[in-house]
Point group: C4
Chain length 216, copies 4
């Protein structure tokens, strides 16, 4: 019973609360993206074509919304994956987690900046550069969450390595985006779609194939 | 004990966190609807009637707010219903869930678009069309959440069928709205109220009546 | 073990998720109040007095923020109190809970309306009238959450009665505000402070004094 | 079993829900800070330098965002630390917790005020003064959360003392900021960085060094 009570108020609960708080920040950042989509208000008597034209003008905003939604969603999935292997609370997780959440919370700004100034170099590079920073903070956090002091005893080394390699794939994808933005700004954020390619590449070359398929 | 520990850090926890994150996104999207309701600011000395007039002008916004509140609320209830039958974590849930949440997170935009341009075809059709997409993604997710790999062993086939049939009712209601919007834009979003009718129809004809009443 | 498993995926979990979703909506509505507080931007060279004057002009907004914060906070506390007595899931809770959350989610609009048009009758009455509606939906929900089908077996009748009486006190306070707004708009929302008085009155006259002190 | 059931619906659950609600408010307040960062929209044909200039103009807003992010994050960490020692529910926690959350929820306003009017006395003093109030409410709440009626039995006196001393360090840092703002407004919010210094000072002088290192 004392063991059980300890779990509820002690380390396990502290870890759960950190995860919970992070989930809330991810969820708010991902949902706040919508407030950058301003619904056009057309005068009475506007034709159907006018409405379709008004929507077409919003395409860059929509593309920005969808890309950022899946970027934040992927970081959430990575956080989810790393912390589902964590069992022990370590106060050292607190600030690295907060720093990572800070980069996520700022994403709506960078999304708005790149969406309202589409096809320009500085906003596209800033967006991808911010993702490079996010990916680095993410990798540090994932390393902490899967460090011996935190990790659950029944998690295999292979699982830990896969989590870290996926983190690396995000970094490489963000760097690809950064480089592409310099030369062709319009292709900077679409270049983030190279993340799954990098992941495939890393996972395929770094570990036996059977395991990869199983841990996907 | 190891079995218990496994539950806390392993599959069950991963499922819980997915549900939690989804709840947060639903809650934020549903509450963000209010920021499209702009409080009118009247000059000093305005009469009571001026205020009532200003409020009357907001009726389309209010109607939009209430309809979208209950649309998102219904999708949340469906998610709640499907995942209350899920027991095992499956990484295949991750992206279909994220895609469904993406359509929910975008609802405040479509609500604002249909509210500020009331009685026009394109916004009404877009709103209902977006709901058709949401309903389709919802059905796919519900099928995954009640698939053998995920489902709790003690859930009856009948419960699973009822959940899926309710999902279908939402799709039929959204399609009704889409068709109605084409002919009478002003009746497009009110036609969503056909969802409970479709549900009654499907549940009544598809299964023995006694079970339906019990699972309502 | 099967009993334990049942708890995690079945009724108890469904109830927990409802409570969780409600908490998130309460938390978002209460925190969104701040976006109606627009920070004044003064030109360079403005004096300290200019800044203090600019802040003084915001007093109605601040008062609105604080009143609504504690109004939403009180409804949350009532929800918390009622559901801490609930143990069994009942699908009948779903829609009454959603309806109550809808009135809470709309509070930022009514707060902004009464704050930007201070000392006028219609906004003050609308604010208090909306609270009357919220209080009624709250009472219905609390009755459901403490109904025999939902209630935990170890909760005393006295506790249930206290919860319902507190709900009644909120209704009486909101009605007081509504009546006062008609005659003196500026005192309408401050009249909500009569809620604790109504509560004291009801609790003191309706039950033995010893119990009240213990259940406060 | 009745003991276990009691935990799930009774005191422990009530405490968990309070913590949960607080987490959500902290998470929303911290993420809402981003909506004060308005993405600049430049005309077509603007040069890279124009974009960099536009971003440079936003530096005060960015600094405000980061400072407030870590201020709210620190209060969350303090709340986390204090409540990870709490085990028993006490209704007396409700309003002091709500009051503390109210000061946190208002932070986006004070952040925006100090950011858009950088280097001026009144906004800087108001920001730091608000933090003094927050720190005081925080200290009161931490004292309640670690009071004998609430505290878990296995928490050492030393842990409790460390939590309270950290709360005091935040108060002293906020007061330092308040005093500095009076004389040099531009250094007011940066002076909040003295919080870790105050913490080191208090922890080093107030308790044996070995323990401090262990409880960090």
């Amino acid at each position: 019973m004392s063991e059980h009570g300890h779990h509820e108020v002690g380390p396990a609960h502290a870890l759960e609360r950190l995860v919970f708080f992070s989930d809330a920040v991810f969820a708010i950042a991902i949902t706040l993206l919508v407030i950058e989509l301003h619904a056009p208000h057309l005068p009475r008597g506007a034709s159907d074509l006018d409405y379709i034209q008004a929507l077409a003008n919003l395409i860059p905003e929509f593309v920005g919304f969808f890309i950022s939604f899946f970027v934040i969603g992927s970081f959430w999935a990575g956080h989810h994956r790393a912390f589902s292997c964590a069992k022990h609370w370590d106060p050292k997780l607190l600030f690295p987690n907060l720093e990572m959440l800070c980069t996520i919370a700022a994403m709506p700004f960078f999304t708005a900046f790149v969406s309202t100034n589409s096809n320009t170099r500085v906003p596209a590079m800033l967006y991808c550069g911010w993702l490079v920073l996010t990916a680095l903070l993410n990798m540090r956090l994932q390393r902490l969450a899967t460090s011996p002091a935190v990790l659950a005893p029944d998690v295999s080394d292979e699982t830990v390595r896969t989590i870290r390699r996926r983190g690396l794939a995000v970094l490489l994808g963000a760097m690809t985006g950064l480089v592409v933005s310099w030369f062709v700004p319009a292709l900077g954020t679409p270049a983030l779609m190279s993340i799954p390619l990098w992941r495939l590449l890393i996972l395929r070359f770094a570990e036996p194939r059977g395991l990869t398929a199983h841990q996907r």
